[in-house]
């Protein structure tokens, strides 16, 4: 289904262009998908998911270094 696809793709393309690190790119693409799912709308549980993802990516960055 391509509905709205072209615009979501635009946002994803800009994330690729503007993110200077792989971790930032990965997180933001994940976050857009997350928000699209509307799973955590108005729900404090977004915090747990965001935190988990951030810590996972920071750890990976340290390991890569």
């Amino acid at each position: 289904m391509s509905n709205g696809g072209s615009l979501n793709r635009r946002i994803l393309n800009y994330i690729d262009e503007l993110a200077k690190t792989e971790e930032a790119r990965k997180f933001l693409k994940w976050a857009i998908g997350f928000e699209l799912e509307r799973v955590m709308e108005n729900n404090p549980q977004f915090r747990r998911e965001y935190e988990r993802k951030i810590i996972e990516l920071i750890k990976k960055r340290k390991e890569d270094l």
Binding site: R10, I11, I15, E17, L18, L28, I32
Partner: protein
């Protein structure tokens, strides 16, 4: 995607109705549904939005307050019996898929004759109606678990107004505060709400990271608490601003309603006076904007000339020194560096003496080379600077007259406003002193809502400034916090998280900005192309622009701004072009439903706009809900080659309620060819 069928049961005036549409192919993408005013055209749009979102987005004053069920349906039922209001939409997808969306609401007739709703307690809709969806998966139709989510992906509720809209309200895009309305449209169509949510969550998360630590130093805790307090203040300010904006919009709506009543009052001249007053207000507003622009121009000028004036003593001194250097022959240098260098390389002076490296003569000539090199390059700079400093001197000289002229222009405009406001006050008192009590009442209402609106606008301005200041303070404190955290290694991980969050915020903000800008440009380009494709006055308008503040401008070939002078027909074309551009840029493949597309248009341009409609939405299903007055023979003629089906709403009213049904027209007129009636 297109609508294959709409089935209505006991929905408002539709006791039972079914409309079958054709797939838009071969250029036949238009369906016309005809109906008199009040027959149920708008309720067909309401049926669509109710089915998809649980919300009737286009209720008229007549229908507000009336429950959604058809009264005739309940009439024939015995106490204890139930009935259902239901709207079902069959959708066809371009890949051959099918979706059936059904929304229903149960009612029961009580023993005392009252009709009560039986809510669905699991429903997510405000009216607790039930939403069900079947979707073709493979070859089978299967029930969908989360229909709201699918609908959000197919036709997000936030942008439905750009697909299902009232043709008579298109104008609103280009009235006052058009920039705000258009920015809102661009924001919604770009789905930037997603990025905004990411940004908000990241900002909240940054605070949580710090708040949850209980090993912070007192200084860090102090900063953290301050940030928390400022954030709470910011939230409060934003809430108050939102509330004030809603109240302002409501006051404006009520003011317009009262004005409309005045305009339509059957008292001599009141209508004319009200029209004159409305025109004065528009002109006052325009003049105020012009003054604002001139003031901006003035501040720009002041800022560009200020450095030259403040540093005028430098200009004078530097000019003097350059003049003296020229006069005393220091510049240009007596000897060209190239010439002197040649003497050194050939090893012979002009006097004939040998110049041996290391000798005192050689060193003297070398010194001369260094000096002349410096002077030569300086010469170029000084001569260029002399000319530019002279320009600056002239600019400073012109300053008093130029600023006086700017001030005069502003003052003239302010005097114009004064004159217009005096006339407006005269009209205000003429209307207020009218004999009719009703007129006086409407006039009081207009004044009351105007005052309220102005007060709210002022309050909103102040709140915006406070919000800006609070945001700056928060940003400063966050920097301070980071600085303090970096001082200790035990906060290393916390600092890493905060820095990462900031990195993400910076990228997300950049994405938001670039996407808005991209979409704005695309919409501008498409609006321009479509408008010029439709407008009949090809040589009158030169360009259409949507600036970075989302204000739309239509440039006349003379270079003047023409948006304020567009006729109703031209504005409708502009609005159609704009909405069409929004549709195309959105990437959503959704049918278009337009209620009363030609209602406000006089007969002349009507045909031209009707001719343009198919090209605006060339590959989509377009459903037009029109009155017979709009669907003239000329309009019928131009739409006929794109027409896929034509229906009429048959409406009957009786003592117990009203009933409407939708009948397909046989289009004998089309078969017969020449005569259209």
């Amino acid at each position: 995607m297109w609508i294959e069928r709409i089935s209505l049961k006991n929905y408002r005036q539709y006791e039972e109705a079914e409309i079958e549409f054709c797939r838009p192919t071969g250029g036949r993408n238009i369906t016309v549904i005809l109906g008199d005013t009040g027959s149920g055209k708008t309720n067909l749009v309401n049926a669509i939005t109710w089915c998809l979102y649980g919300n009737e987005k286009h209720l008229t004053a007549r229908n507000k307050g009336l429950d959604i069920y058809n009264t005739l349906a309940a009439k024939n039922l015995k106490p204890g019996e139930t009935f259902q209001v239901q709207v079902k939409i069959h959708l066809g997808e371009s890949d051959g898929g099918r979706i059936i969306v059904t929304r229903s609401l149960k009612y029961k007739v009580e023993f005392d004759g009252r009709v009560v709703r039986i809510p669905d307690h699991l429903s997510k809709a405000e009216d607790q109606s039930t939403l069900e969806m079947m979707r073709m998966i493979g070859k089978d139709m299967k029930e969908v678990q989360d229909p709201e989510f699918i609908i959000q992906k197919l036709i997000p509720e936030q942008i439905e107004e750009y697909f299902f809209f009232d043709g008579e309200r298109l104008d609103e895009y280009f009235k006052e505060k058009s920039g705000v309305k258009i920015a809102e449209a661009v924001f919604k169509i770009s789905q930037l709400e997603l990025i905004e949510r990411v940004i908000k969550h990241l900002k909240d998360l940054k605070q949580f990271f710090v708040r949850d630590r209980n090993d912070l130093s007192p200084r860090i805790e102090e900063i953290r608490d301050l940030i928390d307090r400022l954030t709470a203040t910011l939230t409060d300010l934003n809430d108050r601003k939102e509330k004030a904006e809603a109240q302002r919009d409501e006051a404006e709506r009520l003011e317009l309603e009262a004005r409309e009543k005045l305009r339509e009052a059957p008292v001599q001249n009141i209508g004319k006076l009200e029209d004159e007053r409305a025109e004065l207000e528009e002109n006052i507003e325009k003049t105020r904007k012009e003054i604002e622009e001139l003031k901006n121009e003035k501040i720009q000028y002041l800022c560009s000339i200020a450095p030259a004036i403040l540093a005028s003593s430098c200009i004078q001194k530097a000019s003097k020194l350059i003049g003296e250097s020229e006069a005393s022959g220091i510049i240009p240098p007596e000897y060209q560096p190239g010439f002197v260098n040649k003497l050194l390389t050939t090893g012979r002076c002009i006097c004939g003496r040998d110049l041996i490296k290391g000798s005192s003569e050689y060193e003297e000539v070398k010194g001369l080379l260094n000096k002349s090199s410096i002077l030569a390059s300086l010469t170029r700079i000084l001569i260029e600077d002399a000319g530019r400093l002279e320009n600056l001197r002239q600019m400073v000289q012109e300053f008093p007259d130029k600023i006086t002229r700017m001030n005069s222009r502003i003052q003239n405009l302010e005097r114009n406003i004064e004159t217009m406001e005096k006339r407006k006050l005269t009209i205000d008192s003429q209307i207020a002193s009218c004999d009719s009590e009703k007129i006086r009442q409407y006039e009081n209402e207009v004044q009351e809502y105007l005052k309220k609106k102005e007060k709210l606008i002022e309050e909103i301005g102040q709140l915006k400034q406070q919000i800006q200041a609070t945001q700056s303070k928060i940003a400063m404190e966050e920097k301070e916090l980071e600085k303090e955290l970096k001082k200790q290694t035990k906060y290393k991980e916390l600092v890493a998280c905060l820095e990462f969050c900031q990195e993400l915020l910076d990228v997300a903000s950049g994405v938001k900005e670039k996407t808005m800008e991209d979409v704005r440009k695309e919409i501008e380009q498409q609006t321009k192309e479509l408008f010029f494709g439709m407008i009949w006055k090809e040589r009158t308008y030169a360009n259409i622009e949507i600036d970075e503040h989302y204000n739309v401008s239509v440039k006349h070939i003379s270079g003047n701004e023409a948006i304020g002078t567009l006729s109703a027909g031209e504005r409708q074309i502009l609005a159609l072009a704009f909405v069409s551009a929004l549709n195309n840029v959105s990437g959503f493949d959704v049918p278009i439903v337009i209620d009363t597309p030609l209602g406000r248009i006089s007969s002349g341009p009507r045909e031209k706009i009707a001719r343009s409609l198919p090209s605006c939405f060339s590959d989509r299903q377009v459903i037009l809900l029109m009155t017979n007055e709009e669907y003239t023979s000329e309009v019928k003629k131009v739409l006929s080659e794109h027409l896929s089906k034509e229906f009429s709403i048959e409406f009957t009213e009786c003592a117990d309620g009203s009933k409407a049904r939708v009948i397909e027209n046989d289009r004998e007129w089309e078969r017969k060819g020449a005569s259209y009636s």
